[in-house]
Amino acid sequence: MAVMAEPVAAQVKRSSLWTRAFESRHFLGAMFMVPAIAILILFLAYPLALGFWLGMTDTKIGGAGRFIGFQNFVSLSKDSVFWLSVFNTIFYTVAASAVKFAIGLYLALLLNERLPFKSMVRAIVLLPFVVPTVLSAIAFWWIYDSQFSIISWVLIKAGLITHYIDFLGDPWNARWSVVAANIWRGVPFVAITLLAGLQTISPSLYEAANLDGATNLQRFRHITLPMLSPIIAVVMTFSVLMTFTDFQLIYTITRGGPINATHLMATLSFQRAITGGNLGEGAAISNAMIPFLVAAILLSFFGLQRSRWQQGGRD
């Protein structure tokens, strides 16, 4: 860090309090932070705190609530729909993230090959991530339609099944359907960020390994994976956070149905708080997501520290 050069001469010449204040980088720094900090405190930090408070009250829409301590959590712990939503959220996150990682890494490796029209292919691959999730989810909704599903039609024509699959009517079909839609949307993000990581690995490492007679698998195992592991940790943390708190896909495709089989914690809290009007209970459900999120962040943070240390990095 370089030391800032303070213009001493200027300070002597102009000495009113106001101009001197503007010469001070601490004061000026504080002024520069005002717009961002004001918005973040009013609409991020304050709501976060208010959310904790709301979760301990019985607030309804349009009325003040009173403090009821952990009552909401006690009643939620006896609520089978809540536990179903916790199970769904974990299942959704684990299944979707694992597949997103596998396909994403594979796609990144493919895109890292020498290809014609490489930048165009990369631009096309990223499309599902760019297009508004709700709008592409509408397309999935139509693809999963019980009467006009194109997947069922193709499978019937191919002679593999005899009648249309009820994608969104059966609990497990519905779960796998939304997982598939989530994978579709998440793979490009994982692939393109991992590709950026792959491009920073020096090809000379691979050439050296080739000269030593390493096989493809060995090169992947001993060069690509270790070099890529820090970025994998970050990308997967983001991916897990986005999947765990997902709302849009579920709300568009199933609205939590059939019989709550696809309700995630986020959609359940929306249903209880906004549709049902029980702000307090909904806030308690959102708050119940926080321990999971913190655990995911800490896990990747410490994993990252360890891998950095293994590679001889400073921090």
Partner: protein, 291 residues
């Protein structure tokens, strides 16, 4: 980041074409098919007349025999769709501008003025990036209601920066870090004020970063759903994603043609913008992850 793929020839020339086809092109083609099919399906449904859409026996579902603009016409003239489009544009542009302004100032202050505690503020802003909208929307709804902003564009314009500012600030901090200190020191010696330095030296040099942040922020606010769904209730104030989901479904009657037309026409502006700025978009996406 150093991109090395151009200089390396590697040992690729040892591989025959059929082998490479099986190993690279075939799986790549399959994945791209899987990624693009929903868009094709969206486009087909948009231009397909109802008669063909609901009859797979007589008409091949993969093709359109008599393309029609009837769904698009219905969408534009029989629904509030033009208003939703207008709202989405207004909200995205305003929240992006507000966020860019606030983030440029904040990132410059954190990275270059290095006031007391700037490191901790930078860290706090990054943590703000990790707070998902799904746990904020309930208390935010209460706040929006108290402030009297409920059911208006302003509710969205003021709340979207909560996820845009942390992201943009974090990204811009990375860009500002790459600009040599010496340039600023020269300007300081020449008597430039901090604001002059920011607008005449730092900003022009980090223009790619500002564009990246702007493009990404714009698409994020165009995509936003949960706040818009919670804070807006009347049809004429909705954004495209919310309007399409809530207004084009009457009970059990789904207007599939209009829904698909809304999905397609609502995606096109973002995709056009994206296609002009792919490199910026990608660098915003990867840059935010790599720090």
């Amino acid at each position: 980041m150093t991109t090395t793929d151009d200089q390396s020839v590697g040992m690729d020339y040892l591989e025959s074409f059929p082998r490479k086809f099986l190993r690279v092109y075939l799986p790549l083609g399959l994945i791209i098919f899987f990624l693009l099919f929903p868009f094709y399906w969206m486009a087909v449904a948009t231009f397909k007349p109802d008669a063909e859409m609901y009859d797979y026996e007589k008409y091949n579902p993969f093709w359109i025999l008599h393309p029609t603009l009837e769904h698009i016409k219905k969408l534009f003239f029989d629904t509030d769709y033009p208003l939703w489009m207008w709202n989405t544009v207004i909200v995205s542009v305003s929240s992006t501008c507000i966020s860019l302004f606030a983030s440029v100032c904040a990132a410059y202050a954190i990275e270059r003025l290095r006031y007391k505690g700037s490191r901790y503020v930078g860290l706090a802003i990054f943590l703000g990036y990790l707070v998902p909208p799904s746990i904020l929307f309930i208390p935010l709804a209460a706040i929006v209601f108290q402030l009297g902003l409920f059911d208006g564009n302003l509710a969205l314009i003021l709340t979207y920066p909560t996820f845009l500012i942390p992201f943009c600030t974090w990204l811009l901090m990375g860009y500002f870090r790459t600009i040599p200190y010496e340039l600023e020191e020269c300007a300081l010696i020449d008597g430039a004020t901090r604001i002059q330095i920011l607008t005449k030296i730092t900003l022009p040099l980090s223009l790619p970063g500002v564009i990246s942040a702007g493009i990404f922020a714009f698409t994020l606010s165009w995509n936003e759903f949960i706040y818009a769904l919670t804070f807006i209730s009347s049809s004429e104030n909705k954004t495209i994603p919310v309007g399409a989901i809530t207004e084009l479904v009457n009970g059990d009657v789904y207007h599939w043609g209009a829904l698909m037309a809304a999905a397609l026409t609502g995606s096109v502006p973002v995709v056009i913008l994206y296609s002009f700025f792919v490199e910026y978009y990608v660098s915003a996406m990867t840059g935010a992850v790599k720090e």
